[in-house]
Subunit: 593 residues, 2 copies
Amino acid sequence: MGSYAAPLRDMRFVLFELLDVERRYAELPGMAIDRETLDQLLETAGKFASEVLFPLNQVGDREGCKLKDGAVTTPTGFRDAFRQFRDGGWAGLDADAEDGGQGLPHSIGIVVEDMVASANQAFSMYPGLTHGVYSCIRSYGTEQQKRTYLPKLANCEWTGTMCLTEAHCGTDLGLLRTRAVPQAGGSYLVTGEKIFISSGEHDLAENIVHLVLARLPDAPKGTKGISLFIVPKFLPDAAGGVGARNGVVCSSLEHKMGIKGNSTAVLTFDDARGFLLGEAHKGLAAMFLMMNGARLTTGMQGLRLADVAYQNALAYAKERPQGRSLTGPKAPDQPADPIIVHPDVRRMLLTQKAYTEGARAFSYWLATLLDREHHHPDAAARKEAADLVALLTPVVKAFVSDNGFACTALAQQVLGGHGYINEWGMEQYVRDARIAQIYEGTNGIQALDLLGRKVLADGGAKLRIFGKMVQAFLEEARATEGMAPFLDALGGCLAELTSLTKELGVKAMSNPDEVGAAATDYLRVVGHCALGYWWARAAHVALQKKGSGERFYEAKLATARFFFARLLPEAAYHARAARAGAEVLMALPADGF
Amino acid sequence: MGSYAAPLRDMRFVLFELLDVERRYAELPGMAIDRETLDQLLETAGKFASEVLFPLNQVGDREGCKLKDGAVTTPTGFRDAFRQFRDGGWAGLDADAEDGGQGLPHSIGIVVEDMVASANQAFSMYPGLTHGVYSCIRSYGTEQQKRTYLPKLANCEWTGTMCLTEAHCGTDLGLLRTRAVPQAGGSYLVTGEKIFISSGEHDLAENIVHLVLARLPDAPKGTKGISLFIVPKFLPDAAGGVGARNGVVCSSLEHKMGIKGNSTAVLTFDDARGFLLGEAHKGLAAMFLMMNGARLTTGMQGLRLADVAYQNALAYAKERPQGRSLTGPKAPDQPADPIIVHPDVRRMLLTQKAYTEGARAFSYWLATLLDREHHHPDAAARKEAADLVALLTPVVKAFVSDNGFACTALAQQVLGGHGYINEWGMEQYVRDARIAQIYEGTNGIQALDLLGRKVLADGGAKLRIFGKMVQAFLEEARATEGMAPFLDALGGCLAELTSLTKELGVKAMSNPDEVGAAATDYLRVVGHCALGYWWARAAHVALQKKGSGERFYEAKLATARFFFARLLPEAAYHARAARAGAEVLMALPADGF
């Protein structure tokens, strides 16, 4: 039950009115795209997501994936939908033209992925990971590897996986044990067991290309002794087609809280033929390239599920009659008012709306910076984009996925008891949203990455780029009537962030645990500051266009006011918690808990 | 997988060291109980919960309840466990001796229920609702009704349900349509459909006693025309045993996010024979008596699930080697340190510990006040207890269940990917905990009840009782060395609550929507203040007993420090959000969303 309609108006607002992507793409060689083409693309993608993928979302959850004799069957309808996805050209939107793709900016691919994943997150992970493997081989592969794999991966004729985790190690990959033994002819035999492999085995494509982290016999200990291997399910034959079956089998499927339509496999590699990707012992760096892109879209899963959950909560709130407005009946001819008259129901709806739309602006912007980082002709522009991407990717990953989980739970709450039963579909969004806080590096790890590696390690240089950008907007926008309240609040948040960062920098020098103690709360301060920036920019545009008469701008302004009045103040609490220090966490000995 | 051990040390701390229940119970006629007896009772109950009920928790989740030809089969093992529960005398602990119960204080029954529900929440709901029906009939039943039903319900030979919700009405019971037509001889024929009926049909007992809200033919519209009926599944025969089958059938079972081991039934009443309970048209008041008790324990479900989830997260954090402490290896002979060395993991664990132990003190105290309200010989003491119970029951319901959900999610997060799969049991706690925020009146409704009915409606009189109690402690405890930081923070929170309440009182007079706009955030401020009070009291006891050498007190103090440093400051954020006013919520027209 329920429905999904791509939020095209808001997507266009972000792309064209906030980000001016036509101008941005025109700066990138060969990537110019006109608004009309883009508009039509979004519309067609939205239709496909609503009509083909959304109806399979509950089916996927109910049926899950089934393993029999090593073969995995995906839920009813997934095979056909995947074929349509491939045939429609959705797989290769942002793949290179020479690989059969359409050569569009990656950020457009991400916007389309938004619709796919809002409609059906479990489904979206099959092509999503494939795109990551495509990027990784494109960056690190030999010419022959590129020729063999890229055209197959570009259009999802073959799909891909990332094989990192083993039962005894996830976060700490330095402990991994899978080994690769060199063979005559330059290939390797890979042996070991990998767990939690999303899309690890399925019936959607004729071949699966696993990227596997393993150790060579002479590897140094720890993370500096890890290499990356291409291990296809079927070895490519001389003509580039599917050849002999390789020594990798799906030994079991995990039963999970959510994303049940995606197969989460335990893969056993037993002398499986593998091919070194990139340099020996430098596999982790290569994998992290893939992972960083994945972290952006993993964070965005929060936004995607919050969006579809919000749509359904809103529809329910407008229709469900229950109780009367405290200020007198609003639907006097009906036995009760629709629950959207109640301030607390509106608080829940506006929280979802503010976090979702704010995250859309924030993350689409970061996606355009990814394109800028890789394609801008000017080195300085590339460097600045790369710095912002490095700084803010963990923020999208953690802040947006945390808010996404909270928002799906709020959407569920709007439906009361109906939100708790399977039938209405709301509780599935909560279960599906939960994983984004965990995989691709837990949100705690993202926070450490942000504060330790991205902020303190370079003395705050990357953060200053962000700060200057916000400062410039604060000055530029002050001339616009009505902006003062937004700018004052944003300026306050930035000042708080700046002084907090300095204080933590000093503390961290005397005790590294201060970083870990403050990291999660610190990340929420940065997240609020980034969302505040984008909500202020949105208000800026909306104020200027208010005269257009389009009600969209009225809603945008009202939501911005809500964000600054009720959500942004949370940042002050987190700043205070971040200042509380390590002692209060570390005082108790482990066996004293 | 996983395990549960009743937190006996902390339960004893709360009961004997914080609340001094021996003294409290001695004040209630016929309810004195010595510490040794109580200690032994807790130990035996804990053993039963760990050994009999916990092993069935995952079974219940996996199998769920099954409906075939109107009959419901509970999960494997539930029947046998229920028989053991009954035979062990656990059902009738706090039922009257004349009904075959043990006549213990209700608050002791609640503590035992804690262990039962931590071990297996779905199971605990079968006897839990039965106890509510027992109380309701004891308060409102005729002598004959009491004779017929109480002895059967006291020991769970028969179980009970509350039948309120219909498909079109949950929160707004004024809309309900089930009707009751008077018959010769004084009984009624009840017809209608009720949904979301917990324990509505099952194979654990020979009879089920439904309490059903319905309208008489001459009933006024709205909530003032609702009456309450006893509708047993089997009509009692002349000898008090099970007689003819009544016209109520389970037409379907809901498929839910969690608590799958409990049967959530759609019940169809078709000319079912019913018996008026209490006065005509006054059914809602009677049902609310039952509901208020249920709201306390519903809130406590958050604490119960947070407790078992915390135990398992803590065990994992102590054992799982992953990464190195930022301040240098703590287990240098191992390939990695256990993750409890990381400050952010400790932040997650201490948050769970602080919310769980704080909620235990807060809610056990409220449970003892319930006994005081009903049994204290002095009318003034009864009145004061009743006022505090009325004021704080919605706070336990919402604050403790919200924190419980958040804590189970944190516990799940500690396990990383292992937390997301069924096998480890962590994700079930999250799914099971979610319902407590929804049923027995959503948490939004609790907040309205608190601010509108309990605080503002009497001009803050009930709140002042609470405030005076806190104030008295602030003055009394200041003499104890080391208390100042706790008392300063608590005093600040109380002052904030007091001024916030006054401001909202003024605003509400000009616009009732101000109550709805502030209610949820206001409730969190009260919740923090109440937990702050109990954490300060806990610290007070621990400071005085620190010299005993028992490490328990060291942990108690460290957790209190964590609570005041990192959790209590959230109250200031909510006070600010509560002050933001209705305009920011109500400005946008419903069709402008």
